[in-house]
């Protein structure tokens, strides 16, 4: 069982780090608390939806900002949605960039928007990577016969 304990410790350390570095916030913990034996994949399912939504929105944003004449209301609408879903899963850093992004939309500042788009893409890629690592650790623990510590 040593292996399992090691993995569990690793998972806890990793999760703590993610919170400390601001990638995740308490909302993520809320989601974890909604998971149980009757719904063992809840968090993975919600996060998967977040990944799908985000990728779609990031594509739309790139398109909308690529136009000759930018429709800032459309940009804002996409960012608003991205902000909403990132907030719902506790992806704090993505959410923060979205807030700045919306301010640039309000000001109709193209350069600001393009910078934010790049930033939000980066933050999204980071949090996606972190979450996938986290889920892999969880899978390893389960495969080794252990349970996921909360």
């Amino acid at each position: 069982m040593d292996g399992v304990v090691q993995l569990q410790r690793q998972l806890l350390d990793y999760t703590t780090q993610l919170f400390q570095e601001g990638f995740l916030n308490d909302q993520f913990t809320q989601l974890q608390q909604l998971q149980d034996e009757t719904n063992p994949d809840f968090v993975v399912e919600v996060v998967s939806l977040f990944f799908e939504d985000s990728e779609r929105l990031l594509n739309e944003l790139a398109n909308t900002l690529d136009q000759q004449s930018i429709d800032f209301r459309k940009v804002d609408s996409h960012v608003h949605q991205l902000k909403g879903s990132s907030s719902s899963i506790g992806a704090q850093r993505v959410q923060n960039v979205c807030i700045a992004f919306r301010n640039f939309c309000d000001a109709q500042n193209t350069e600001g928007c393009l910078k934010c788009l790049q930033q939000v893409k980066n933050e999204y890629a980071l949090v996606k990577n972190k979450l996938e690592t986290l889920f892999q650790l969880e899978q390893q623990i389960l495969a080794a016969g252990g349970s996921i510590p909360m």
Partner: protein, 258 residues
Amino acid sequence: MFSSIAHNLHYKSLPLHSVPPPLYKYWKQIPRTFLVMGSAAGEFLRHVLPEKVGVSDHSAAGSELHVLAVDDSHVDRKVIERLLKISSCKVTAVESGTRALQFLGLDGEENSVGFDGLKVNLIMTDYSMPGMTGYELLKKIKESKAFRKIPVVIMSSENILTRIDRCLEEGAEEFIVKPVKLADVRRLRDFIMRGEEEGEENRKKGNHKRKLQDDYSISPPLSPAPSLDCEISSLLLPSSSSSSPECPSKRPRLWVED
């Protein structure tokens, strides 16, 4: 006219995180007059709010609540669905106001025995949705004879006072700021279930609801300004006769709008 009262309260300029969240969410249930009493009373008011009321044995209340959840976001639909199920509610989650109206049978189809006969006890809707907003959906529900009694709760990621006010004015039961938490859903469920139980009792007794005023045993420290609306003065001083003869508006504004 309310300048002195409003100035003390200065609701609009309070950073929202300094307003105790439960108080803020229960605006609808508090007669507006009490909001002028300021934050000192806020602490007291928190204690009379439904969240502090012990919930009696649920089995006595009968079947589970059926909630219709409306949200265009996949993520949010999934989360709200889980929050509700874990709180022992039946859930129907739809992606738009149009779908919600279809589900209720309010989409113009002449079919009064709509959906599957499952009574809806609560509607929770997102505010910002493409097409029909949550506010527009709220209006349509409140305009409908069949469904206007169903409590409607608005959810929004944006904390905009005028928006909140507008929704409450239109008859929303509550306005919840996203992300929605389990505590929010539980409190809502308990409140609705209590309402359903009381509704049953009242139907039996033929009583009218005066619960809100009966619950408050505090005596308001402020005496009404002469220009106060009739409604306010009668709430503050039930037995007083010193009220303005003019009743210009039904729902006076106690703070300055944008």
